[in-house]
Every structure is written in C-alpha cells, then in structure tokens.
C-alpha cells in the first residue's frame, strides 16, 4: 500500500489567457503522489500551487500533458465521470471553506454521503464520527454564518474526510486561521493521515503547514524547483 501511486502527472502545462498574452501557470510538471503522503505544494503566490491542485482534483483541465488520478486519465473523463471521481476518491478543503450556506454543520458534512447514496444509519454514524474528529459535536445545528473561521475550516475538513476518501486536496487550509487553530487543524489532519491512511496534498505558503509536511514540493513560476522529503518535526505525532 505504501508504494501505490495515486496521482501521476506527465509534462503538465497550463496556460491562462491574460489580455493578449498567455500566462503560464504550470510549466512541464511531472510528478507522482503515493498513498499515505502528507505533502505540501509550496511557493509564492502565482507559482501554480492552486492550479496544480485543481487539475489533480479534475476541477480544471491542463492545456497540455497528462494527469492520472486513481488510474484514470482525467483529460479523457466526461463531466459525469469526473464528478464520480471527485465524489468517491477525492475530498476538498478550500481557502474560503465554501460551505453550503443554508445547510447546518451536520447537513454540510452529510452532503458528500448523500451523493454516494449511503444508507441513512451508516450516514449518520459517519457524520457524527467526522464531527467528533474535528471537535464540532456541539455545533451540529449551527449554520456556517454562526461559525468562526477556525470552526468553518474544521467543518470543511470534516466534509472532506467524512467519506474516507483516498486523497484530500487542501488549498491554503490555514490561511484564515490563527496559530492555535492552524496547529489544531494540522494535528487533526496528521491524525487522519495516520489512522485512515488518507493522502493529503496541500497548497500553502504558510510556515506552520510546512513544518508538518512529510514531503515538500516547491514551485516557482509554474516549475518544480525542489521536491524534498522532510524530517518529522518534534511532536509530529502529538495530536
């Protein structure tokens, strides 16, 4: 299991039109991610971190190159197949949380399971477990507008984790959080990574995140300039 390749990109290029010119967000990225990774894509703003994350998540398509996620070439998937890939294998957390505003915390976390057509009893058990992981059992009936930034991010993580996906793609998960909340969330993710074997890929330039990574991929101007295994920091496993 340790060596199973979940994601592979080959000569990935992404251009965005910018006026009359093209902006190159990704430039010839060839990279693989294995199961149980806890990897960060780091680099300055505009280096291509989020773009790479979105393409891996089949939320965006590359201009050139190949992306395989769970053995499937995302470039050849129909909308329905891409939706199914995201629904079954991928969990997302966004910088701006993107919680569904009219749903309660419970309903937000439950939503991915509804798409998987899970049985009600099983669904309830999974939602409560996810809420327990993120410490929001007492906020089940709250709406997103009643939550703090840290709580919203924890709901977002619970929603990504509730279906026990193979891969969680997290875009700047700590960007809007204070230090204490950031550490709490990262420790929780580490716990999930280790207990459930979930692969985490972050896009972040937050030093607090970088300190927790097992692998750090540095991007600059759309290119991988460094791909390094990290030493586990002191207390890395302390949850």
């Amino acid at each position: 299991m340790e060596d199973q390749i979940l994601i592979a990109t080959e000569r990935l290029v992404k251009h965005y039109p910018m006026g009359k010119h093209l902006f190159t967000a990704l430039n010839d990225i060839t990279i693989t991610f294995k199961s149980r990774e806890f990897t960060g894509l780091v680099g300055p703003s505009g280096s291509g971190k989020t773009t790479l994350l979105n393409i891996i998540g089949a939320l965006d398509s590359p201009t050139r190159g190949l992306v395989r996620v769970m053995g499937q070439d995302t470039g050849t998937l129909s909308h329905k197949q891409a939706a199914r890939l995201r629904s079954i294998y991928l969990g997302f957390t966004f910088q701006t949380y993107n919680l569904l505003p009219v749903y309660t915390v419970y309903e937000n976390v439950e939503f991915p399971l509804l798409l998987l057509d899970m049985a009600p009893a099983q669904r309830k058990k999974a939602v409560l477990q996810a809420l327990e992981w993120v410490g929001l059992m007492d906020k089940q009936k709250s709406r997103p507008s009643q939550l703090s930034g840290g709580e919203s991010q924890r709901v977002s993580i619970a929603r990504a984790m509730v279906k026990a996906p193979k891969i969680v793609l997290a875009d700047e998960p700590t960007a809007n959080l204070d230090a204490a909340n950031s550490h709490n969330i990262l420790q929780m993710m580490i716990k999930l990574n280790e207990e459930l074997g979930t692969t985490f890929i972050f896009a972040s330039h937050d030093d607090k995140v970088i300190g927790y990574l097992k692998r750090k991929i540095t991007l600059t101007d759309g290119k991988v300039v460094e791909d390094a295994r990290m030493d586990l920091p002191e207390g890395r496993n302390t949850c």
Binding site: N54, L100, Y103, D117
Partner: protein
C-alpha cells in the same frame, strides 16, 4: 429522489429569501388573475346589460330595418302580426317604434333617434314608467345621462323636437325631459329619446305599428317569421359586441402578456440574481462530486417549487380577496364610461377556469425556465470558474 430532498432542504434552509420570492410570485399570480378577471367581468357585464336593457331574449325586426343604416328607420315599421301582438298582450314581448328626428337644445340642432316604448312594459330594464306618470301637456321624454350631458339637458327642461311623419311632412313640438336614466348601455342612451309608444305612433301617423319587438328572456316558444317581421336571435344581436370583445380580447391578451411579463420580471430578477449569486455554491457542488445534470435539476426544481409554494400562498390569501371582489364588485370612476364599452359603476370580476389554470401553468413554466436557463449556463462553467464566481 435526492434532488427533491435537497431542493426542499435548500428552500426551507433559505428561510426569508424563499418566502420573499414566494410572496412576490404569489402577488404576480394574483395580479394577473385579478386584472384578467376584471376584464372578463367587464365583458360579461356589458353583455348582460345589453340583454337586460335593449335586447331581451331576442327581437323581431321589421324586414327593412337595418341598424347600420339610419335612413332605413323611416320606412321600417308596420303593423305587427297577431302572433307578436298576442305575446305583447301576455307581457312576453314589447314593441318599439323608431323614427329619426332632431332637437334644438340651446339653439343648437342635434340629430336624435326617437323611440317609442310602452310605459307599462317591464320586460326591459328601461325605467319607462316615468313616461307613464308624467302629467298632461308636453310630451314626456326619457333620456340617458350621457345624452343629457351631450345636449346639456336637465330633468324638467323643455326642448323643441322636430320629426317627419310617414308622409314625409315635417312637424315639431315641445317635449319635456321627464327623467334621466343612468345606464351603461350606450345604444339606449346616446342620441336616443324615449317617448310613449302611442304618442310616437300618433306623431308619425303609424297606429299599431312597430319597428321591432323585443321578446322576454324567459320566452321558450319563438313564433315563426311572417315575412314582415324577422326573428333575430341573441347571437345575431350581440354580434357587434362579441366582435368588439374579441378585439378587446386581443388587446387584453397583450395586456395579459405585459402583466405577466412585468410581474415575472420581478421574479425573473430575483431568481436570476439568486442563482447567479449562488454560482460559488454550484462550484462547491461540482467539487463535491455532484454531476452537472443533477445540479441543473436541483436548481430548476427549486424554481418550480417556488412556483408551487407561491400558488399555495396565493390560494391562502388570494382566494378570499378575489372572491370578495367577485361578490362585492369593484367600483369604477365615472371617467371609465369613455372606454367605449358599456361599463357599469361597479364591475364584478369573473374568474374563468381557463384563466386560473392557464395563469397557473404559465407561472410554473416561466419560473421553471428562469431557473433552468441561468443554472444551465453556470453548470457549463469549469468548477474552478464557478468557484471563483465567474460568469463566462
């Protein structure tokens, strides 16, 4: 099933936004039904008023009488056959004699149609009894309020009347305005002067003659034509009004569409804005793995459910309101007389099943379409663009 569950959850979760949408939509529905009901009420009342005041249950016309040719009046009268005089004696018909003439109010000349009516008749809603109760002396005349206004005549005023008898000889006398009737039927009012039937018969030297005979609305056995007096049924007599209503219906159809358009514009704006505002939400649904077709179905269903809720809400507060209007009627200002159609002081709206069902259907379809179109457009975006809130 999931889509229905989510749509209901979204609608209930949106709280005030949902109910505001629903209320606006229900107002649009009621406005359309109310205004169209009023127009239908106009038409129905105009028809009823014409039947009550002028047409009765049908008429026998003298064969030379042509309502479109004023010159035909002079020679369109004759003695009635026994079959018709029998009906008149039994109170199941009443005779009208017509001739042309002129009055000279305040030194001006004004052409009029003189109509002789039996003052004792009760078959038509014309208050002809006024002619009966008037004293000796001048010839009593009954005119409509519109006529009184045009000729600047008031009750009790005397005015010179000139006419020609059946030999073509001009004659003149004074008539006194014995009464002014208020009526919504222009054809018994404008340029019409009603005088006692026997008086008119004497004036034009046409004893026992009539131009037309109005039958009772309750008369079942219509006597056969005798070749001199020809039966005209209500379809024939109402032909002009029916054509007029049809023309007005074309106009009111435009009004209907305009009303629908204006009312739904508010809904359209609300729905479109609401859906475009929710494009990030759609992006989130895509990212969470909801297929495009399911997203379109979800948002479209939400729109349709808004329509259903609006109809339910409209039924709760609208049915009593519309029913009250239908029973009590709606008072109209006097200026509406100039609209060209017989309009009573109070109009009683009439709501046909076609109007209610048609409007219901239209509202539901429109709301569904205005929900479907923007959703389809947004769902075509890449998830990343939808998440960023992009339009194109």
């Amino acid at each position: 099933m999931l889509i229905i569950k989510l749509a209901v959850r979204n609608i209930l979760g949106a709280g005030l936004r949902t109910w505001l949408n629903v209320f606006i939509l229900s107002l649009a529905f009621l406005t359309i039904v109310g205004v169209q009901g009023l127009l239908q009420g106009f038409n129905q009342q105009a028809m009823d008023a014409m039947i009550d005041m002028e047409l009765g249950g049908g008429q026998f016309w003298h064969r030379r009488y042509d309502r479109y040719d004023p010159l035909s009046i002079e020679n369109a009268h004759e003695k009635m056959p026994e079959s018709l005089t029998r009906l008149i004696r039994k109170g199941e018909a009443t005779a009208i004699l017509m001739t042309s003439g002129a009055i000279f109010p305040e030194g001006r000349i004004q052409s009029v149609v003189l109509k002789g009516i039996d003052p004792a008749q009760t078959l038509l809603d014309i208050p002809s009894a006024i002619l009966q109760t008037h004293g000796e002396g001048d010839i009593p005349a009954l005119i409509g309020s519109r006529m009184a206004k045009e000729a600047r005549l008031e009750k009790g005023e005397v005015v010179t009347l000139r006419w020609r008898d059946i030999f073509g000889t001009f004659d003149a006398t004074e008539i006194v305005v014995a009464g002014i009737m208020s009526t919504s039927v222009q054809s018994v009012d404008s340029n019409q002067i009603w005088i006692p039937l026997d008086t008119l018969r004497e004036m034009i030297q046409a004893p026992g003659q009539a131009t037309l005979v109005v039958l009772s609305k309750n008369l079942r056995n219509i006597p056969p034509d005798d070749g001199v007096f020809v039966f005209r049924d209500l379809d024939f007599l109402l032909k002009d009004l029916t054509a007029f209503i049809k023309t007005k219906s074309a106009g009111s159809s435009i009004l209907y569409v305009l009303l629908l358009f204006m009312s739904l514009l508010a809904v359209f704006d609300t729905q479109i804005l609401s859906i475009f505002r929710r494009r990030k939400e759609m992006g989130t649904l895509m990212a969470l793995g909801m297929p495009r077709t399911a997203i379109i179905g979800l948002f479209t269903l939400e729109g349709a459910l808004h329509g259903v809720l609006a109809l339910a809400m409209a039924a709760v507060y609208g049915v009593p309101l519309l029913a009250l209007a239908a029973v009590k009627g709606i008072a109209l200002p006097s200026m509406t007389e100039s609209i060209g159609l017989a309009i009573a002081d109070t109009v009683y709206p009439a709501y046909g099943a076609g109007l209610v069902l048609g409007t219901t259907f239209l509202i539901l379809i429109t709301v569904t379409i205005v929900s479907f179109l923007p959703t389809r457009r947004i769902s075509r975006l890449k998830p990343t663009d939808a998440l960023r809130g992009k339009f194109t």
